[in-house]
Symmetry: C2
Subunit: 309 residues, 2 copies
């Protein structure tokens, strides 16, 4: 039973890790947002991809969610002394990933190929696919102008007020389309719907590939708040209700099922009224066991769902 | 009294440091070999330039002579895990230099401008100039074929037998020509004559700028051995006598004076027979005080010399 998971950064990486615990490597493909990729200091940096890879490899920093564990910061400190921009946190070990990705891409490898090589080097079983091989930068239209994604997200710490998210419709990576065609079901991880999942769904041909598949989305909003990142702030700025209901509404017609946190159990009828089935559980992943259990429940749920239209 | 020093790596950096101790910043310009520069992992790396800069900034690793003190190697270790080449030692702090040099050059700055910015950031007083702004790679013809310089020097640890050194005659950096024109005297540091000094002297217009100036060379060969690097091995492979006399002969007609180590005092008549004046002293720089004293003696000596033809 092939499963495709659509993932952004930290929340997506955690559920992907749980899914990898429940499925054999051949059964799981994780498609990762690359709308937040950017070139920085001459390096191709793919933050969501790295968060997923580091998490699956057991290299992730458990404190921050991004970057590597046991990290040192000597290069960044030295860069600061030279007047280079230091707002993007580049650890010494993490830098190797960016150097090697950049080197391999300059040598002609696709981002899909580079990602496969990283998976092999780190002993990652499931396939991890960038959503696209070509750059597909997400721009954020704010009250302070149009910002590059990492400029908004890291440099400005999501402070500017968002008016709209501008997605780039690059060609999806061929392996992504093939994986979706072969998928028995699709899981949308608890990632930011606008900044992490929409960039994937927006790629030409993507939504069409989901038609006829059971799709379940896991809520990234718990008790009206995002567990990580600006999803709640963004919902408010985009004029939506700041609740899991708004996320379910965002996936209406695409996902047939919605995994809702137990603290939001009272919202289930509103989501069911949108035409989605609801599974209520504890969605907060504090431990590896939490990840595995939530993944297991989500898999059981998605297999019980009807196909989307 | 403007002094220009021509320098390669470790030996040159030490004497340059001693010269900086004896001269005001405005009086000293250090012209550094860039024939050993190379692109590696997508980075512009300038090993001799970095050795000189780190030494003058007080950042140099006193054990190795190259790289930075208190260095860590986490990026290189992580690169190795990804299958990237690790034969060239890139420390985490050192990497910042290469990243920033590469970034600034891609943004349009010349190597001269980048080097000036590094000097400013590190509080280096004297001017440090790359010999050329454009790449001027030195190739080494060996019994195993023609090797790129760092391939020969670091990767192969100077093991292949050298048949000839192939220099690239790039345009000298404009600031180098101007500095030589303004120079009252020139010091050739105790660097490898074939691999570090010849690449500088070989640049079009360089030798002409030395005519009419007093020039003193400090021997890199002491007691028939190089203090660092393959100078002695190279002398033998190129069919020369492995002694300071062969180095003096190499600079005959260019340098009017030769600083000879005290253990080689018996060689003074042979060097004087070549038409060079000789100053015998302790040339081995074990401490900062050694560097300052040797520089002081060399300065007194060069000022006593007649101009070269």
């Amino acid at each position: 039973m092939n499963i495709v998971a659509l993932a952004g950064g930290v929340g997506g990486a955690k559920l992907a890790h749980g899914l990898a615990h429940n499925l054999s490597p051949a059964e799981l493909t994780i498609v990762v947002n690359t709308g937040d990729d950017f070139e920085h200091l001459g390096l191709w940096i793919a933050p969501d991809l790295d968060t997923v890879l580091y998490t699956l490899a057991g290299l992730a920093n458990p404190e921050t969610g991004w970057g590597q564990r046991d990290e040192t910061w000597n290069c960044l400190q030295a860069l600061g002394r030279l007047g280079a921009p230091t707002w993007f946190g580049l650890g010494d070990r993490d830098l190797a990933t960016h150097l090697e990705r950049t080197r391999r891409r300059r040598a002609g490898a696709t981002l899909t190929e580079v990602t496969a090589a990283l998976c092999q080097a780190w002993g990652i079983g499931p396939r991890v696919l960038p959503m696209a091989d070509a750059p597909a930068p997400t721009l954020v239209e704010t009250d302070e102008g149009v910002l590059a994604f990492q400029e908004y997200f890291v440099h400005r710490r999501c402070a500017p007020r968002v008016q709209a998210v501008r997605l780039t419709a690059a060609e999806p990576a061929p392996a992504v389309l093939a994986a979706l065609e072969a998928a028995a079901a699709v899981v949308i991880c608890p990632s930011n719907p606008f900044l992490s999942v929409d960039p994937i769904l927006n790629l030409p041909g993507l939504r069409e590939r989901l038609a006829g598949k059971p799709v379940a989305a896991v809520s990234p909003i718990v008790g009206g708040q995002a567990l990580k990142g600006p999803a709640a702030k963004l919902l408010a700025e985009l004029g939506r209700e700041v609740s899991a209901v708004a996320v379910a509404a965002h996936y209406q017609g695409l996902a047939a099922g919605f995994v809702l946190d137990q603290v939001d159990a009272a919202l289930a009828p509103a989501i069911e009224a949108l035409g989605l089935r609801v599974r209520v559980t504890d969605t907060v992943m504090r431990s590896d066991a939490d990840r595995a259990r939530l993944a297991q429940e989500t898999l059981a749920f998605v297999h019980s769902l009807p196909a989307a239209h």
